[in-house]
């Protein structure tokens, strides 16, 4: 049984107690400790900057050409905080409960409470950095609502909240980068972890411009490399999002938790053709004013504006009257899939539903709607060529956020000593389904407020590397570096006839069809067999042009797809093992009469954490989840 090392005491006191008792390092001694951070998204940049401010030596690696490009930049809608500025009875407790319930009671009480508790400081920090959040005419901060809650606690900067928060973190990072404590390396990809006596003590990275491979020592390693939803190929993620850093950590002993829990976002743009490389998200905030519907008749031929209200099925409002169009993401996505699968989908491929602003424009005027969502309507026009002020948007679910990731304890440290994991790359706070606007929050809270305290607490337990250990470290580093070189040589030598992208596409389609929005045993067993054979073919038929000594995007892709292929097998195994439905994990065998997720708290009230055993074999470890402060209920939004 895994121990998350949750501090003792009342729920509301745990984090304060932890901080009060966390070990410290004298400011003058901090510079003797070296911390490596992988990734410069919100959690990586904010953690690196905060640790450098404390006086630690920090070295940062990102595969981007600039720290500002990490995919946190694309988050649109907002960031949650329990400020209760709206006087709508919000509180830390309510936010904690909403998040825990939204995650279908598959996350840790203590972590979720801490997230809600730290949310307020994050808004203060971001405002101090100059993040231009939306304001009322009076000058006070403005809020809106997101799915799965009945209060307005979402702070936003038009439809570019992620960009603005990331720029705040990036600017803090660059400010430290100008000083003595932080070194930033762009265009460097982490390809392995150096371990010494079972502790993470460094990384092997590849310079993507020159191809040179180097080793770097550290006393603590932080992976903040984001999510892996791109494993489905078509997703809302950026082209370069990948699982390589966390997968390499996993292969070095770090457990992977609930890897099959991927959120499908309900308001993405639908796929239009086979050439498509990604799906673009339309912010959930649109559901504040947009109404979702499909025609009542599957044979409907009229254009949407010609269809009268009585022939429209506002299925979310019908099925979930209490939350309506703001039902949580897993439920909204599944409801859309249900309608589309039954033949009621709209659009040329009948794979979408309508998101209609007609009533909102009539009620509030076009100008107000334009102010709230102008850039999203504009984005919609650019991609589809259609005007959403005049006809409803067409939207569909798409792979989006990874609730799963590296298993971490309360300190956000993995079971591999010295290795921390922050933001989307860890599994922690969202349970089996993340609420909208909690992702930016978790990334920031992990980076700004939790890791500075917990990483120092860990470092205070160990000593900086001593001279007599250097020889052993160098040996381990050399061995790991050779392994990375051999891996690259092996892939380059295959010289088959299939590109990495083709394998990725095939893998993504297999996973989406059989282990996506809905899963069942039969389909997943079929997928497992197919994935083994794709993996086998990968090592026989992969084609990478060029060599490893210069810029080679195809080599970068191939390395990532190799890891994705291995991870996909674990994803299916994880989904097969969990014989219940919870949040985004919908097992068709386990549903209520009216098609809702049916949890099994007696047998599955635990986090699945998988240990890598080589050759597609894994051992399951369980972290039991205890709910001492809330009552486990069937999750209802009706």
């Amino acid at each position: 049984m895994l121990d998350a090392k949750i501090p003792a005491g009342e729920l509301k006191d745990k984090w304060q107690n932890y901080k009060a008792n966390a070990k410290l390092i004298n400011p003058a001694n901090r510079r003797n400790y070296k911390i490596i951070v992988i990734g410069t998204g919100l959690s990586g940049a904010s953690s690196a900057a905060s640790l450098a401010e404390l006086g630690f030596q920090v070295e940062v690696f990102t595969f981007h050409d600039s720290a500002r490009r990490a995919h946190s930049v694309a988050a649109q809608g907002g960031v949650n905080a329990a400020k209760d500025y709206k006087n709508d009875s919000d509180s830390v407790w309510r936010m904690f409960y909403d998040t825990l319930k939204g995650g279908d009671f598959r996350s840790r009480e203590a972590n979720v409470y801490r997230l809600a508790e730290c949310s307020m400081s994050l808004i203060d920090q971001a405002v101090a950095q100059g993040v231009p959040f939306a304001r009322e005419y009076s000058g006070y901060l403005s809020n809106r609502s997101f799915g799965g809650v009945q209060v307005s606690r979402t702070f936003y900067a038009r439809g570019q909240t992620g960009q603005q928060l990331l720029l705040g973190a990036y600017q803090s990072l660059m400010r430290q980068s100008a000083g003595k404590n932080l070194k930033l390396n762009t265009r460097h990809e982490m390809l392995d972890i150096i371990t010494l006596n079972g502790e993470a003590k460094g990384v092997v990275v590849r310079n993507m411009d020159t191809g040179s491979i180097s080793t770097h020592h550290c006393d603590a390693l932080i992976i903040a490399s984001g999510g892996y939803g791109k494993i489905y190929y078509l997703s809302t993620l950026a082209m370069n999002c990948n699982a390589t850093a966390i997968w390499r950590a996993h292969r070095n002993g770090a457990f992977m938790a609930s890897p099959s829990w991927t959120q499908f976002h309900p308001t993405s743009l639908p796929q239009l053709g086979s050439y498509q490389s990604k799906l673009t998200l339309m912010s959930e905030s649109l559901r504040n004013d947009g109404r979702i519907w499909v025609p009542k008749s599957a044979d409907e031929k009229r254009s949407p504006n010609e269809i009268p209200d009585e022939d429209r099925d506002y299925y979310l409002e019908r099925r979930y009257p209490a939350f309506g169009n703001l039902a949580p993401r897993d439920i909204s996505s599944r409801a859309a899939k249900e309608r589309i699968d039954k033949g009621f989908g709209v659009g040329p491929m009948k794979n979408a539903v309508y998101l209609d602003f007609k009533d909102a424009i009539e009620r509030d005027g076009k100008k107000t709607i334009q102010e709230r969502y102008g850039n999203l309507f504009e984005m919609y026009r650019k991609i589809t060529g259609l005007n959403a002020y005049e006809e409803p948007m067409m939207i569909a679910p798409a792979a989006h956020f990874s609730m799963g990731g590296l298993w971490v304890d309360y300190r956000l440290m993995t079971n591999l000593k010295g290795l921390f994991s922050l933001g989307e790359s860890n599994f922690s706070d969202h349970g089996a389904n993340r609420l909208g606007a909690n992702s930016l929050l978790q990334a920031c809270v992990d980076g700004y407020f939790i890791s500075p305290s917990t990483v120092m607490d860990y470092l205070a337990e160990i000593k900086p590397m001593e001279k007599d250990e250097i020889h052993a470290w160098e040996k381990a580093a050399k061995r790991t570096k050779e392994k990375v070189g051999q891996r690259i040589d092996r892939l380059l030598a295959i010289k088959g006839n299939t590109t990495a992208e083709e394998f990725h596409k095939e893998l993504g389609q297999m996973l989406y069809a059989n282990c996506g929005l809905a899963r069942n045993q039969k389909d997943m067993e079929f997928a497992l067999g197919s994935l083994y054979s794709i993996q086998e073919r990968f090592y026989k038929e992969l084609l990478i042009p060029g060599d490893a000594a210069a810029i080679n995007f195809e080599l970068e892709k191939a390395i990532r797809v190799e890891d994705y292929l291995e991870m996909a097998i674990l994803i299916v195994k994880d989904a097969l093992q969990r014989e219940e439905s919870c949040g985004a994990h919908f097992r068709e065998e386990h549903q209520t009469e009216d098609g809702e997720a049916l949890r099994n708290d007696d047998d599955f009230r635990y986090v699945s954490a998988w240990e890598y055993k080589g050759d597609n074999r894994y051992e399951l470890h369980k972290e039991h989840l205890s709910f001492d402060h809330v009552e486990l209920k069937e999750r209802s939004y009706k």
Binding site: S46, A49, S50, E53, H64, D65, S66, A67, R68, R69, H71, V73, A74, Y85, S121, I123, D124, Q125, A126, V127, A128, Q129, G130, P132, R135, Y137, S138, G139, L141, A157, Q160, Q163, Q164, L167, Y170, Q171, S172, M174, R175, S177, A178, T186, A238, M239, N240, G273, Y275, Q276, S277, K278, E378, M379, K382, Y448, P545, G546, A550, I551, F553, E554
Partner: protein, 246 residues
């Protein structure tokens, strides 16, 4: 859909480059430009060639990674649009397209259509921040910022750091990029204490990176995918005049 492509190929920063021709006859008008490049590269790879190096990440116009010059248009023939958000329906069937990297001395070509924009990071590093350490912030609503000011600050802050403004400028000036960041931070009350130092340090760094001077042609504003206004530059010059000259 069919397109005739002339694509800039350059093996490295110090190598001589030239256009390479490709004809594609199986395109879909709803493809984005990078999707067309993926399609082309697949063909090149399968026929044993060297694929075109180009960058794009989010493919939704916000990360600032992508961008090339298409028939002389920086990013796109469409207004306020990045290369990744440009779809082939913006072109005519059988049109000839010339694809080139963003060109400026301060943005050296690394390979083909990939350029080095690290100069922008160094300008931000010189002072493009508010110097607040984690934990120092006071309650967010203690400083009121009226709606219009917050909106103006957002307009300047929306820059994605793509470098189109530099690529289109006949002087390769980085004034739009630099002034937008300076204005975003300095117009907000929390950014005022460092405003003077920020102005001086960022402008000095911009100059030392070799970017040219601004002669107000306004070409930058026209190609900016985020519609960053030329007013940012006049505002910066006004500040410079008051702070450094008068």
């Amino acid at each position: 859909m069919e397109l005739q492509l002339h694509i800039w190929r350059q093996a490295g920063p110090d190598k001589k480059g030239d256009f390479e021709e490709h004809y594609l006859d199986d395109l879909d008008e709803h493809m984005s430009v990078p999707e067309m490049m993926d399609h082309l590269n697949k063909k090149i790879i399968k026929s044993g060639g060297d694929p075109v190096a180009f960058e794009s990440d989010c493919r939704e116009g916000i990360c600032g990674q992508c961008g090339f010059v298409i028939n002389g248009h920086v990013h796109s023939p469409e207004k306020s649009t990045t290369t990744c958000q440009t779809h082939l329906r913006s072109f005519k069937n059988r049109q000839t397209l010339y694809l080139e990297p963003f060109r400026a001395d301060s943005f050296p070509v690394k390979k083909d259509l990939v350029i080095d924009r690290s100069a922008f990071d160094r300008i931000v590093q010189a002072g493009g921040y508010i110097g607040v350490n984690t934990g120092q912030a006071s309650e967010a609503n203690t400083t009121l910022i009226n709606h219009e000011l917050a909106e103006d600050a957002f307009d300047s802050a929306a820059c994605i750091g793509c470098g189109a403004c530099v690529a289109t400028c006949k002087n390769a000036s980085a004034m739009l990029f630099t002034s937008a960041k300076i204005n975003h931070l300095s117009m907000l009350p929390q950014g005022k204490p460092e405003a003077s130092k920020r102005l001086e340090n960022m402008v000095t760094q911009m100059d030392s990176e070799g970017f040219g001077s601004c002669t107000y042609t306004g070409a930058c504003e026209v190609v900016c995918p985020q519609d960053i206004s030329l007013k940012n530059i006049t505002e910066l010059n006004r500040k410079w005049l008051w702070e450094k000259i008068l």
